[in-house]
């Protein structure tokens, strides 16, 4: 497979148009965002594991994790993480509906997509309001 690709490249065959020639649409943008937020959340699980392990190690380790989470960098990462989490959660539910064979027509797809974006904003704002007020 690798040798095939390199010999094709040497012959300079024409390539099919790549991503940049397509106009971004809500369907395609939300689709790649689901993947991007999934990868970001996988990285974010490091913080979940760090928090649990630090709690088992004792007050010193827990204080270091808490100090990082409370720093401006930690808070920025938590903000990004919460946006990614709510987006992936809501769009994941959208995916589960598609898996059941529902909601595939374009009008419904745009509506559910906009609902996911609005829901992400609302849930993120709500979570941070409650966290900061409490």
């Amino acid at each position: 497979m690798a040798s095939e690709t390199s010999s094709a490249a040497k012959r300079a065959r024409p390539l099919s148009p790549h991503l940049q020639v397509y106009k971004p649409q809500i369907t395609s943008v939300l689709s790649i965002s689901h993947r991007a937020t999934g990868v970001a959340l996988a990285a974010g699980t490091l913080l979940l594991a760090a928090w649990i392990v630090a709690a088992a190690m004792g007050p010193g380790a827990h204080a270091r994790v808490a100090a990082f989470a409370g720093s401006w960098l930690g808070q920025l990462m938590l903000l990004g993480w919460s946006v990614a989490l709510f987006y992936h959660l809501l769009n994941g539910i959208r995916h589960l509906f598609w898996d059941s064979g529902r909601g595939f027509d374009l009008a419904t797809m745009e509506k559910s997509g906009k609902a996911v974006v609005a829901g992400t904003v609302v849930l993120t704002a709500l979570a941070w309001l409650v966290a900061k007020a409490g």
Binding site: S82, V130, G134
Partner: protein, 128 residues
């Protein structure tokens, strides 16, 4: 039209990747489990924000929290591994780097899950 698949291949139903719908189904099962688990954890984490060690450890040591947190850890790392696997298979075309990345992701997910689970057990059994 006559099928080109052998009767045995059709009966197995495993397709060319040899694992049938297992990956797809496991990703959905963990996704469904994660919907309530994540909502529960986010609500709990907001309550624990800024809490000292004693409060966090006490929260984990409650039986219901320990069980749900362990379930969250298993589902989250399984789901992450399945998702990252598809991303790697889609974008990494060099076979050696692809296999190495798949193994590294699998190892990282297993180790983080085991470390988290052991930590939960440790807090749970050492609770007064």
């Amino acid at each position: 039209m006559a099928s080109l698949r052998s009767p045995l291949g059709r009966a197995r139903g495993l397709g060319s990747a040899k694992d049938g719908t297992h990956h797809w189904w496991a990703q959905r099962v963990t996704a469904v489990a994660l919907v309530p688990l994540v909502l529960w954890f986010v609500a709990s984490a907001i309550g624990l924000a800024g809490a000292p060690h004693a409060a966090a450890a006490k929260w984990i040591s409650q039986p219901l929290n320990a069980v749900l947190l362990a379930a969250l850890v298993v589902a989250v790392f399984h789901h992450a591994q399945l998702g990252l696997q598809v991303v790697i298979e889609d974008y990494v075309h060099c076979e050696a780097i692809k296999v190495a990345s798949l193994l590294a992701v699998k190892a990282a997910c297993w180790l983080l899950a085991v470390a988290s689970l052991l930590s939960i057990v440790r807090i749970f059994v050492s609770a007064p």
